[in-house]
């Protein structure tokens, strides 16, 4: 595979809004403290359904983060995004003045599964109930799946690259890969990349009826714990998480500190819903990412997986990782942050990446809360409840979505690259 880059892509900032923290540093701390964001749902009624918990962001007062500008035209999905984007921009030193300056163009590549299916549904329902001439124009503007990315661009003046990527649970890592490719290709110098997803009734009912949520098969116990022997589905969640990716030279010229590097990325697809295809797609995504990074399986120091408590996907992802990395995968430290955050769909990959920044900084990888020991068939035996100290140079984040999208992203600690051979 030909290398598609001369430019290095670095991370100069991050922004997060999640069920357990509203800052990147806060996220890492909360994960390492074992804090869980899963709680009884208050955003909507779950009456008649057998699952009642989610990673709901509560309380969420947008004004606390966004000031006094008009939020009426902006729905919950976009509000979550604006909070994370504002943080990431500020963290990377992109002041409003810098953004307004003519030659600076900051972009946004946003992963999302639905954008706001709630807004779409409410727009439809109001038109049905009151007649089409009383449908809400504001809601229609927010009913396209690239609406959140557009709202953020307007709010912050992000005139650079702007794309929306949908790959279910893998949207976030795919967005990071896409943005990395654009920066390497010289089409952008600074791009926010990650994802957003809102918790809403429509999404919840859909996931419940699809049998993906813990407790959605009538079980009395809800076990949304990654790799757990009795896991029975995930807990849905919401969030927004963005990295500020920049061309390394441009970042150096701006004089901003580098938090980490995006060293490699890869993606693949599982056409059949089988273990062979699912694990195979994960393995291929990882191998492409490693080759892209100029690294080998032996260079990976720790893992951040997308495992969420899904009966099948957790296993297939783990098998795929073990296939790609070989026998040493069994002992690698593993973070599975959905144990505490829940499944935030389009936001998940961004959350995984932002959480890893903390590990790359302080060498601490959070344990998998609630996991005494992984199920016997999970090859990643290093997954457990205890936090682990890691020599964090290269971290591998992976994702396997329920519908077959596999993504892998390799992050490197600052200065990790200088120690690497060919």
């Amino acid at each position: 595979m030909a290398s598609d880059h001369d430019r290095r892509v670095v991370i100069t900032g991050a922004g997060v809004l999640s069920a357990i923290a509203d800052s990147a540093a806060g996220l890492h701390a909360a994960l390492c403290q074992g804090k869980s964001g899963l709680k009884p749902i208050e955003l909507f009624s779950t009456e008649g359904l057998g699952c009642h918990q989610a990673g709901e962001i509560r309380p969420f007062e947008p004004r606390d983060y966004l000031g006094e500008r008009n939020l009426r035209p902006i729905d919950r999905t976009s509000r979550l995004l604006l909070v994370a984007a504002g943080q990431a921009l500020a963290a990377a030193g992109w002041t409003p003045e810098a953004l307004a300056a003519g030659e600076n163009e900051v972009g946004l590549v946003l992963g999302t599964t639905f954008c706001s299916v709630r807004t779409i549904a409410e727009f439809d329902r109001r038109g049905l109930q009151l007649g089409p001439s009383y449908a809400s124009p504001f809601d229609f503007a927010n009913s396209v799946i690239n609406a959140a990315a557009g709202q953020a661009a307007i709010w912050f003046g992000l005139r650079g690259l702007n794309t929306t990527i949908s790959a279910g649970e893998s949207s976030g890592l795919a967005a990071i890969g896409y943005a990395t490719g654009q920066i390497r290709g010289g089409r952008a110098a600074a791009v926010l990349a990650g994802g957003v997803e809102e918790l809403c009734f429509e999404s919840f009912v859909g996931h419940y009826r699809a049998g993906r949520l813990c407790g959605s098969h009538g079980e009395s116990e809800e076990v949304p714990v990654p790799f757990h022997p009795r896991r029975n589905g995930f807990a849905l969640a919401e969030g927004a998480a963005l990295l500020m990716l920049e061309d390394a030279e441009a970042a150096a010229a701006r004089g901003v500190p580098v938090l980490a590097e995006v060293r490699g990325h890869g993606g693949a697809f599982a056409p059949r819903r089988t273990r062979e295809d699912g694990a195979g797609a994960v393995a291929r995504a990882i191998l492409v990412a490693l080759e892209d990074a100029g690294l080998g399986p032996g260079d990976v120091d720790c893992l951040s997986v997308s495992a969420s408590g899904s009966v099948e996907s957790d296993l297939w992802e783990a098998v795929g990782i073990a296939t790609a990395l070989g026998p040493r995968a069994a002992d690698l430290p593993v973070a599975a942050i959905k144990a505490q955050l829940g499944e935030a769909l389009g936001a998940s990959g961004g959350l995984q990446a932002v959480a890893l920044l903390g590990t790359l900084r302080d060498g601490m990888l959070p344990g998998v809360a609630g996991l005494a020991e992984p199920a016997a068939d999970i090859p990643l035996r290093g997954a457990g409840a205890e936090n682990r100290r890691v020599r964090a140079r290269w971290a591998l984040a992976t994702s396997l979505s329920a519908d077959g999208h596999a993504s892998a992203v390799i992050l490197g600690a600052p200065g990790a690259a200088s120690g690497v051979g060919g």
């Binding site: 939020l71 449908a135 124009p137 503007a141």
Partner: protein, 93 residues
Amino acid sequence: MSNNIEEIRTRIKQIIANVAGLNASRITDDATLRDELKLDSLSLLEIGVDVDLAFKLELPDERYKEVDSVPAMVDLVQQRLGELAPQPQAVQG
């Protein structure tokens, strides 16, 4: 809904305030929508929909496109409510 002009104006200001993300008290009786309140085309459309719904006017969009101020909106609503009010019955005989 009463035709009382004060109530109409108050309600209209509430609707505009809601769409503009402002406190209604910050909207003057003669405020212009595009210039003073800086409302864009989408916001004006949203206001038109909300006003029409609130007062049950059933007016076409074109009528709202001509409105660019609080007084103009008040006039429009008052006039339309007058048109819609039941006519007094002629006395027979």
